[in-house]
Amino acid sequence: MSGHSNDNVSSEELWGGGRSPYGISYGKMYMWFFLVSDALTFSGLLTAYGFSRAASEDPWPIGEQVFRALPGLEGQYPLVYVALMTFILIVSSVTMVLAVEAGHRNDKRGVVRWMLATIIGGVFFLGSQAWEWSHFIHGGGGSFLLATEVTITADNGDEYVLPVGEPIFMDHHFGEIAEAYSNGDASVNLHEHHGHVTLTQFGEHTHEVELHQLTIHKYIEDEQVITGDDIYTLWEARSESFTFGANMHENEYATQQSYANFFFFITGFHGFHVFSGVVINFIIFIMAYRGVFERRKHYEMVEKVGLYWHFIDLVWVFVFTFYYLI
């Protein structure tokens, strides 16, 4: 052996194991490694979103225009619902970190209580996401595409030349019956006279709706409402192509399909993480309740699932910025 400085260190001490260079248990370390790989997956998804958006020739819908509804309320609240979801997830992250803190004091009651609060937060988030998905899939009133070029005047007085293929948006009262009509529902009749367009649905309760408002550029920057005679001009110029809501093949929000598909894939993949997080949290909650960790004399399992749960919050922070805000 050369050198004198390690004369006093036995090889057993250096190579015999029992030392932890990272000062961390294997469980926590592998949770971190898993999270790094998972973070790369989400980064890949968000980067793919950025790529598609940067490379898109068609207008890209903006979050404030697409996500502006609140359950049970009329009116427009841009991004308020998504902000609320973000807040729910942040709060449940906080209750998780409080559970970890209680674990460090070997406070079983504290751990159980905060774990329960975390699970409730997670369930609330999942419920909110279910509503968000349902709203996105059902959409507003749907849209039709123009078959010919049309020049119209919007309510603000500006003149617009709309090219072939431009989507025109109906309001949801009219769109509801228009959807049945475009699906070939025989109980729906279309009346057009003196520039008025009326749809009537016969049945137990006969339902009649007149077309009195259309919107252009609804989900992009320059939303404009159109009323008056121009409605009929637009209706006349319609093609056969109606779209209601969104699915994996078509969507009313954009002429390209990427926007809707990324919504389903990114928020769906994140939602699946939340779901599995809730399940794992529930298992740890039961274990803590039954005193498993009390007998083990430490609550490290709570820390490990805590890491996973915080990671879910971390991912959502990025999804919120890159999918909804920018």
Binding site: Y22, G23, S25, L40, T47, A55, P78, R296, H310
Partner: protein, 125 residues
């Protein structure tokens, strides 16, 4: 067989106990981070609603402030909630450096290619 999740010695922080008084300090810090994250989220939403992208000459600047605020939020979540700030420096580096190298590269290449693709579409078609 000896289970190593039961090890109780100084090299593992498995039973990183702290006293009641330290707990009060830690909880104070948690409250601070909570308020900060909530306020940042509210500011972001307000900015998104107030500034219209078509009309604002500085939408680019707003976009970058969204990114910056998000990184601040992420930093607090990772360092405070996930306690990475309290881990040894070698652990921090093992987690952060490989990730950052990959992601900077990935974002750079995707955006360069994305805008390049659009440029080709609009100029050579």
């Amino acid at each position: 067989m000896e289970r190593d999740d039961l090890i109780v010695n100084d090299s593992y922080p498995l039973n990183a106990h702290h006293s009641e008084e330290e707990g009060v300090k830690i909880r104070k810090n948690i409250l601070f981070v909570t308020v900060l994250l909530t306020v940042i989220t509210a500011v972001e939403v307000a900015m998104g609603v107030i500034f219209k992208r078509a009309e604002t000459f500085s939408w680019e600047m707003i976009k970058w402030s969204f990114v910056t605020l998000t990184l601040v939020k992420a930093g607090y979540i990772v360092m405070s909630f996930m306690h990475l700030g309290e881990e040894r420096s070698v652990m921090k580096k093992t987690i952060l450096i490989p990730y950052l190298i990959f992601i900077v590269y990935l974002v750079f290449i995707a955006l360069t290619e994305g805008f390049g693709h659009l440029y080709n579409l609009t100029n050579f078609h």
